[in-house]
């Protein structure tokens, strides 16, 4: 019985394909518009997924726990003494002081992220750098070595030059020597970054002796991160303790919000297409009415005729999806998703030069299906039923 039912659908699908071909001019219009709608939705999702994936990979390097000090709801400085409060906590593998701040360059309106790391040493090999220079010991007087991002190089016109200066709060100049540049593949998080020694960063920001912005904690057992984070917050009053997972979730939330907003805007095009599809499906030509009458007269039931219309819709959906998704893939892979990048990559002056790679996700397929194909199939149910109502005696 099930086999015969399968054969029945196979036969009806066969007929539906023939019917689509016979009415190819009418169906081509629907196919093209549907493909464009799916292309837009798919492109959006592919750009989002690609950015999400890029951020995921880079955020694996985020510290397990970051400790900051808060006073009156605003970030305040920590002191080296605060490290002593927590360094003997069981489970902490490593504890490092850090300075992390933002420098506003008035000359070009750019914001740089400055990280001063205790273990920064340009004499040691650092992976992930595209350019590496060595500062000889004699030249270290008065300049601090720094590793910078691609956008910093561009905004400070450092092509061919190795030194640059930034203003301290007292308007004196602090000089840096570029000993390395981050690769483009890490642009998403390093584009505006300047990494230097902790003393150099403190000097730049005019921070007092022994002052820090963060403590960076490494935990031996990842499952204990939350427990240790809780203990740290108890040991250092007024501290803000951020775990790696929280940072990852915040990035994801930001991307998710933007992507969703973009999709909401695209829903208008989906709605317009549904109305078009309904209209096209509802209009039955004289020839089509005659055909349905013939089918009913030779023994086809209403359900069989509805099945033909259903399969026609499914075939159009599959073809449109394939076309739309393929073109979307090409749009992201070869044209860098140029249509939707500006919406998703933010408002910063220093837009990261980033190559997007589309990623196939079943979740994206389900989303595209539910937002486009499902409403289309639903919109054709009533017209399909109405078209199947032609009486068999209408042709007698």
């Amino acid at each position: 019985m099930a086999f015969s039912n399968l054969n029945r659908h196979r036969n009806i699908l066969d007929y539906a394909l023939g019917s689509l071909w016979r009415n190819r001019f009418k169906n081509t219009g629907v196919f093209l518009v549907f493909s464009v709608v799916i292309f837009m939705i798919a492109s959006f999702r592919l750009v989002t997924s690609s950015l999400d994936n890029a951020a995921e990979q880079l955020l694996t390097a985020v510290p397990d726990i970051t400790v900051q000090k808060m006073t009156a709801g605003r970030q305040d400085v920590l002191r080296y003494q605060d490290m002593a409060e927590i360094e003997e906590l069981f489970g902490i593998r490593d504890l490092k002081p850090r300075i992390w701040g933002y420098y506003f360059d008035e000359l070009n309106g750019a914001n740089y992220t400055v990280i001063g790391d205790l273990s920064f040493d340009d004499r040691q090999q650092m992976p992930g750098l595209s350019i590496v220079y060595r500062l000889d010991d004699g030249s270290r007087q008065g300049v601090s070595p720094a590793v910078i991002g691609q956008s910093v190089i561009n905004s400070k016109n450092l092509t061919g030059r190795h030194t640059f200066s930034l203003f301290r709060p007292d308007l004196s100049l602090k000089s840096f020597y570029v000993t390395g540049a981050f690769t483009e593949s890490t642009s998403l998080v390093t584009s505006d970054l300047i990494v230097t020694g902790i003393e150099a960063a403190a000097d730049l920001f005019g921070m007092g002796d022994g002052e820090l912005t963060d403590l960076v904690v490494s935990v031996g057992n990842p499952t204990e991160i939350d427990t240790i984070a809780k203990k740290i917050s108890e040991r250092i009053p007024g501290s803000r303790v951020i775990t790696k997972k929280q940072i990852q979730k915040t990035y994801r939330a930001a991307f998710g919000w933007r992507s969703g907003l973009g999709l909401v805007c695209l829903l208008g095009s989906v709605g317009a297409f549904i109305i078009l599809a309904w209209d096209k499906a509802s209009g039955l030509s004289e020839e089509q009415r005659r055909e349905v009458g013939i089918l009913k007269a030779v023994g086809w039931q209403t359900a069989d005729v509805m099945s033909v219309r259903f399969w026609e819709s499914v075939v159009i959906s599959i073809l449109s999806f394939t076309a739309g998704y393929t073109v979307a893939w090409a749009h992201v892979l070869w044209f860098d998703g140029f249509l939707f990048r500006p919406i998703l990559l933010g408002w910063s002056v220093l837009r990261p030069p980033l190559t997007l790679f589309p990623i196939f996700r079943l979740a994206d397929l389900m989303l595209i299906f539910s937002i486009s194909i499902l409403p289309y199939l639903a919109a054709t149910v009533m017209p399909a039923w109405r078209s199947a109502l032609v009486r068999p005696d209408s042709i007698v």
Partner: protein, 226 residues
Amino acid sequence: MITLDSVDKWYNRAAANEVHALKDISLQVWDNEVVCIQGPSGSGKSTLLSILGCLFVPTSGQAIINGKPLSRLPDRFLTLYRREAIGFIFQRFHLVSGLSVMANITLPLLPLGMSVPERQQRAERLMQKLSITHRKHFDISNISGGELQRTAIARALINDPPIIVADEPTAHLDEQLSNEFMSIVGDLKADGKTIVIASHDPLVSDHQIVDRCLLMRDGRLEGVKE
């Protein structure tokens, strides 16, 4: 056997455009009989044929075909019965344009879930019998009137129904093709089929193969033609 007992058919009953198409029709058609129904245009022949062909049920009265009462049968079951029991040949053949001869013939078999080889086998047998095998892959817009007629007949016979109903089958055919059609009717009778033909063509009503010719006027049966 086909039995109609006091059958009436109304269209748009109680509406302004109400039509009383059949009035108190009672008739019997025996197995393996060839019956012709003759009457002028608007006499109700097509409506009567539609009831005999199980395209719809009468408004009142009894319709029993091969022991199956059809008067109150829901449309779904009427269709299921029509598939098995009735082969209908339409006035203008009503083949689906854009499809080949083979595809048109096998159209009734698609919703039965029959496999492609089985469908083709059945169609081949009929096409051979009706001498249209050489046209099986031709689009129906590229075949002659006679071949169209035989394609329509093959389609009506594909389910091997015991009853064939034909509505003005020779209306658009010349004398030669009309004679060919009646010859096929003779073959069908020899195969044990029951055939009911509505026609005002004397070539049909006066043909020797016709067992009875019933006269119809204004929705009523007026008797048998002498």
